[in-house]
């Protein structure tokens, strides 16, 4: 099966190198875009993924936006779930005197599952201490930095760093609920001490959970899809990827078809000799598979290399499973592109080869 395919490739190296080159570029683009899509998604969701939770409760009014949702610790106490955690959240701009950056402050309870692991430094214990996303480290923040906030008089102090802590494109600062309350409502406020933004639920059977009136329980995935910009970005990139699948099918179809048309008389001779359509078709498929596989593998390796060389500010993250699936799709799609050529071969009349 590989005999014809391989010998032809060997004889016409330039021609087939070109096809491999084109397939390589297309797959490189696919892999890179998928890396970008994953990267942008992580930017929005990695802190949420870290919760490993099934559902989240917000107010109905908030329209699935944590920022706009306001509920109380009493609401959380009324919910009967296997495990839950409360969270207060506010967006701010934080600066250490040198650099400023957008952050998202999470107010949490130390003994609940949202409490992050500490990769460097220590856990917050005192007032206004926070664990920061290690992204801030790259931006020039250090342990011990005192942070001024845009919306508050409070000064926060970084005591530790944690990984995978970005929410809706902003690095997260984790502090306790009282720190969050001081930042959001001011020192003197006594009224809002039980105010939180959301309740996060870990429970396999979320259908059975009832919440108070005017509250909405949704799957974490639904919540993520409703983060500002998240679905739009994902859709755009995925659309580009799917479009590239179509493009690569068309490219392969055109290339192979042109090659096949050039070889019509040769196929005619082979058929006159009694070589079956099946054998010739398998041979074309084997050849396409070979070309596509080599192109995809080179594209794969190149995109990993590019990813490693890019500055960390570019949000690429390679999900090997997704990439493998896309790679397989590319190969399958290329083989579909070969169908035209196979149909052409099947239709060739061996008589034509003999001539008069």
């Amino acid at each position: 099966m590989m005999f014809l395919a391989w010998n032809e490739i060997k004889k016409n190296k330039l021609r087939f190198t070109l096809i491999i080159g084109v397939l390589m570029l297309v797959s490189y683009l696919v892999f890179f875009l998928s890396g970008l899509a994953t990267g942008l998604q992580n930017l929005n969701r990695e802190s949420v993924d870290k919760w490993q939770a099934e559902a989240i409760v917000l107010t109905e009014e908030s329209d699935k936006s944590m920022n706009q949702s306001s509920l109380t610790i009493e609401d959380a106490e009324a919910i009967d779930a296997k495990e839950l955690a409360v969270i207060g959240q506010i967006n701010a701009v934080a600066g250490n005197g040198d650099v400023k950056t957008k952050v998202s402050l999470f107010g949490i309870r130390e003994d609940e599952f949202i409490m992050p692991n500490v990769t460097e430094g220590k856990v917050f214990t005192g007032e206004n201490e926070v664990i920061a996303s290690d992204v801030l480290q790259d931006e020039g923040f250090k342990i011990g930095d005192e942070l001024q906030l845009s919306s508050s008089e409070q000064i926060l102090k970084i005591v530790g760093f944690t990984d995978n802590a970005r929410f809706n494109a902003a690095p997260v600062l984790y502090g306790d609920l009282s720190t969050f309350h001081r930042v959001k409502f001011g020192e003197a406020d006594e009224l809002n001490l039980t105010s939180i933004n959301a309740i996060v639920v870990r429970d396999d059977n979320i259908e059975a959970i009832t919440t108070g009136k005017s509250l909405e329980l949704m799957q974490v995935e639904t919540f993520i899809e409703n983060l500002p910009g998240y679905t739009e970005q994902s859709l755009t990139l995925n659309f580009m990827i799917y479009f590239l699948f179509v493009i690569s099918a068309v490219i392969v179809a055109i290339f192979l078809y042109v090659l096949t048309v050039q070889k019509i008389s040769m196929f005619g001779v082979m058929k006159a000799q009694g070589i079956s359509n099946g054998y010739l078709a398998r041979s074309v498929i084997a050849q396409t598979f070979l070309l596509a596989a080599v192109g995809v593998i080179i594209g794969f390796v190149l995109s990993l290399i590019t990813g490693a060389l890019l500055p960390s500010a570019v949000p690429v993250a390679f999900n090997l499973i997704t990439m493998s699936i896309y790679g397989l799709v590319l190969i399958v799609v290329a083989i579909m592109g070969a169908v035209f050529s196979i149909l052409t071969i099947v239709r060739i009349d061996p008589l034509k080869a003999i001539g008069g």
Partner: protein
């Protein structure tokens, strides 16, 4: 027992006033070990005859019987199997696979069919055809005569019982043409095959056991061996 038999075979192309009767009731049979020449003017139906014998074209009426199998009773798939097993075509020189070396042209047949020549038979064949040195060459690097000999090797390699050659010497000078005929003759005798050669070249009939003349779709045997040249 005839290897090949044609009974009342007719072939008509087209219809209405454009209708061409390419073959008019051909009755023909050939035995093992026979080298047969078909001669005749252009357009007389020689190629049509050969392609019908080879199972590439179906007759309008009549029967083509190869080794007791009636070609019109079987499917195209089986016909293609018969072509592969029983028939060796010698085609125009350009009909080699351009991206296969001489050796691989033959190896391709190993991919699709068993019962081809053994290694030592193949070596003999290379020697007979004087193409041993060309094994690693591609068709584009061969002369017309060399290509033709490779085409013959290809036809013989699968040990066919019938060899069909349409103008096998067309692209050769006369010395080479004689050599090719000599070779076809030897192979026919040694392997006991049935070989049919279509040719314009009257001088080649000397090599043949029987000569037929095709005129306007009518096939007639030219009788006396010695008079073959005179009669045509």
């Amino acid at each position: 027992m005839a290897v090949l038999e044609l009974k009342q075979v007719k072939k008509t192309f087209g219809s209405g006033h454009k209708q061409v009767e390419a073959l008019k009731e051909i009755n023909f049979s050939a035995d093992k070990g026979e080298l047969i020449a078909i001669i005749g003017p252009s357009g007389s139906g020689k190629s049509t005859f050969l392609t019908i014998v080879g199972g590439l074209l179906t007759p309008t009426s009549g029967a083509v019987i190869i080794n007791n199998k009636n070609l019109s009773d079987i499917s195209e798939k089986e016909r293609s199997k018969i072509r592969l097993k029983e028939i060796g075509f010698v085609l125009q020189a350009s009909n080699l696979v351009p991206f296969l070396t001489v050796a691989n042209q033959l190896k391709l047949l190993d991919q699709v069919k068993k019962g081809n020549m053994t290694k030592s038979q193949l070596d003999d064949l290379y020697e007979d055809l004087e193409i041993g040195e060309l094994r690693t060459k591609y068709p584009a690097d061969l002369s017309g005569g060399e290509r033709q000999r490779v085409a013959i090797a290809k036809a013989l390699y699968s040990n066919p019982s019938i060899i069909l050659a349409d103008e096998p010497t067309a692209s050769l000078d006369s010395d080479r043409a004689y050599e090719v005929m000599e070779l076809l003759k030897n192979e026919t005798k040694r392997k006991n095959t049935t070989t049919i050669v279509v040719t314009h070249d009257i001088r080649l009939v000397d090599y043949c056991d029987k000569v037929y003349k095709m005129t306007d779709g009518v096939l007639l045997q030219v009788n006396e061996r010695n008079d073959k040249r005179d009669e045509v």
